[in-house]
Symmetry: C2
Subunit: 278 residues, 2 copies
């Protein structure tokens, strides 16, 4: 078992996939990048042994990470994406009208290269003129952002490895300072089944920093524990309401999913009291 912290394993289940072909196996300065072909999921990107996305079902994660917060903001113009060098979150962000600038802050250039080679549909948005790619640590970016950010999306690849700094209090504090007055923020926080201590830690930390904090989920087949959580926060607006009509072309997310995906009030209350044992 890989341990997430002292209290919980990253995954008590080992997931194995058929591999028809290994398309890329590369040690970058930060991680092992593996791109393989699977008969069911199509192309898969695997970082340090953990599946990050598959061509077949990546849209669930990327739509849910992006569109909930994008619709919670009344008029997002400036967006920052930390991680997400594959380009899939960018693709979703750029579906929204009115976007003027997107910072893509990716520490590992090899992810971008791999995506351009093996996931061209996802990577296409990396070349959009509104996108500015910054090859740097997200923690460094938030310490000195160039302008206020309307929507801040953390698409950290890996919650057990080197990306841990993107789940630290210091990072969240800087990030909050970088948000505009209407600013909203989201990061994934692992599984409600396997990583509840981590979800609880992040939720509690965010509550100390930002006035509005919430939690929503999606069921993702290739993420350990699969009942995947997204921790969202904002300086002003509740996240359960959409501030603009549903306006983008998606495969899963829509206005009804927006309403449904948030954790129920009772479950959330029990959860924050630490009363959930499973």
């Amino acid at each position: 078992m890989i341990r997430l912290n002292d209290k919980e394993p990253f995954s008590p289940i080992e997931y194995a996939y058929e591999v028809d072909a290994v398309l890329l196996r590369k040690e970058s300065a930060f991680q092992e990048i593996l791109v393989v072909e699977n008969p069911y999921f199509g192309r898969m990107m695997v970082l340090d042994g953990i599946v990050q996305l598959t061509s077949r079902d990546e849209f669930f994660y990327h739509e849910m990470l992006t569109h909930v917060v994008m619709h919670a903001h009344p008029s997002p113009k400036t967006v920052a994406v930390v991680g997400g060098g594959d380009g899939a979150v960018l693709r979703e962000v750029l579906k929204h009208s009115g976007i003027e600038k997107v910072f893509l802050v990716e520490i590992d250039e090899e992810i971008i290269k791999a995506s351009k080679l093996f996931f061209p549909d996802m990577a296409a948005s990396l070349d959009d003129p509104r996108v500015e790619i910054k090859l740097m640590d997200g923690a460094e970016f938030v310490r000195a952002p160039e302008c206020y950010i309307d929507v801040f999306i953390v698409d950290a690849g890996d919650i057990v490895g080197f990306a841990k700094s993107l789940f630290a209090e210091e990072f969240f504090r800087s990030l909050a300072d970088s948000l505009g007055d209407d600013g909203v923020f989201v990061t994934h926080t692992g599984s409600m089944h396997f990583h509840r201590n981590m979800v609880l830690d992040v939720q509690s930390t965010l509550k100390e920093i930002l006035p509005v904090v919430d939690l929503y989920t999606a069921s993702l087949a290739t993420c350990p524990g699969n009942w995947w959580t997204f921790s969202a926060a904002s300086k002003k607006y509740g996240l359960r309401d959409m501030r603009r009509p549903f306006q983008v072309k998606t495969r899963y997310y829509d206005d009804e999913i927006h309403k449904q995906c948030f954790i129920t009030e009772k479950l959330y209350a029990k959860f924050m009291r630490g009363g959930l044992e499973w």
Copy 2:
């Protein structure tokens, strides 16, 4: 890949679990029954290589299978459970007041024996005086039930193996005939990620037989594809509304989860048009 039908595999991911101890390995007349101890999930029951339940998280599945339909009925007195020889659905059913009779129709007596030995908390309800155990095929039971059934719960262990008859049109037709005028019914139908053709087949078949058919889900960590579906139907009542107040002691299910768990209308409409590709 194990195939569910010509169109889809049962699981394109192989799930592996640490085993601290093998407590039982038995070939019954119907299946291989395995009970193992896992460091995270506790005791696990595995039938023909497929995890059926774990002590740690079985309550998600059993509460969701049982309480949605139990609350959709105004006053359930007579309940039938097909499968479920482990006793966990019985435990949930018997939490409701007013229950007079529960038929437990289990084809494989060895499941009952294994549960009594290794899952005594779940098996305790098997000895309740209101429970009548019938060691027979569920398909046979529904052809000649002794009385009308208020709530009919199919807890089939295995949708790829010998239990296939519990997902056939003939079974559903007999089952519908066995329901009282207020009767409601539920069966699990696999994963929205991996088994959509099967979900679609069962939903379409049920719609030909019963006036009200619906679909709800829960995210289950140890079921392949995990975004697990429950197909429910009734002779009269909509299933999204509770006909009695939430009245049982549970760990996950409650009145808010009842409202939230049903598939959204738009997603359901797309799904029934066959328009979902993932």
